[in-house]
Symmetry: C2
Subunit: 246 residues, 2 copies
Amino acid sequence: MDAEEGLRRLRALGFGEADAAELWAHFDEAERRGKRSHGHARLPWLERLDGFDPAAEPVLVEDEAGFQRWHGNGAVGYLTLARAVGHQLADPPGHARLVVCDRAFPTGMLGHHTRRLALGGLVALLTATSPRRLGHPQGGPKLASTSPLSVAVPSSGGDPVVADVSMAAVTWGDVVAGLASEEQLVPFGGDQAHKAFALAVALQLLVDALVREPGHGAVLLVARPEADPVPALRRLAGGVRLPGDA
Amino acid sequence: MDAEEGLRRLRALGFGEADAAELWAHFDEAERRGKRSHGHARLPWLERLDGFDPAAEPVLVEDEAGFQRWHGNGAVGYLTLARAVGHQLADPPGHARLVVCDRAFPTGMLGHHTRRLALGGLVALLTATSPRRLGHPQGGPKLASTSPLSVAVPSSGGDPVVADVSMAAVTWGDVVAGLASEEQLVPFGGDQAHKAFALAVALQLLVDALVREPGHGAVLLVARPEADPVPALRRLAGGVRLPGDA
């Protein structure tokens, strides 16, 4: 799929020009980074998704020193996070700000959002919930979403480090596409999968404890850096690929 | 080792009564939870450790809405975090607060600190740095500390969920004790160890970007919960063990 087709189909869904461009940029970045379950395939998925309003505007419902709460207000989660991120870049915190997004789903490839913040000079940590798909490694009911965690740190070299890790061994998108079985959708880590399970459960609860409205949401921490550790780490790493590098 | 011996040896190192009790409670909880590398063995380790002052008092050097910075001021990291945690419990944030601890080492079993916060009704997320011991799964220089991440969420039932996960497959303590080889000290996850590596590097950089003084530190997020998701998750889980359960 090329940009022309992608943008045309997004506009046909009712999205305005700027929102269509943001959504296309998100899907296309995911596709290029090899995170295909968040890539172009999300467009036909969105064409079948019910329950969002392409004209809805996410709302900043609480705004205090060090804290904001946003509400999706019927928008797709991609755009709720895009608005929240744009706001941080336009009005960065003095030191740090916790940003809770109620009713934000789907939020896509979290590294897309944290990378924007890091490129704008802010440290970011982001997690988000989705349907429960992970059980305990030893079996039992599905207790946690895949609970991705993304952490991005800016660099004076313009090359931030951006980790974006799902706690699942395979993606739900791969299951839907028939590339993996539902039995493979377990916490990653093999004989140490209890670690990814623990993180998945706790990150799910972190979001669930901070949202006001039941439903999927996101929790974002943004902070102004005091130091610039990435260039020195890149020197130490030599040619070793760091998280988020192409 | 029993409490009487532990407390006696801690006092002999110069710690006051309350600090000796806090340190013993930390080591003993780690021992009981099976995290022995943070347990009783830390007492002889502390007896050989240079560069800390048992009488030093950690200092709150910045305090604004939503943000605090502490400095260890020569104290052991256990006590720097204990002071910072005590302060959050005595004076909780209106919504959320990022707490950066400069010069905090060693910080021990992070779940000890986040559990205290969750038992006091606060959501907590904590990570900390230590010497670089993890390289890329495919080899190369040591780039990241074991970068533990702990997340704790309170419960109206009095039984918080407390995840406390190191990104390493074995502990440094196990290597020191001869229970594991240094070659086994790699990111956990087997053929998906790139995920734990990504988190380890990014969490290390998160701390390194937020401290003002070079050296090991800790980053703690505390927030007031808006909801109480743990009891419902425990019902859903049935008998499945959740993170931090005995």
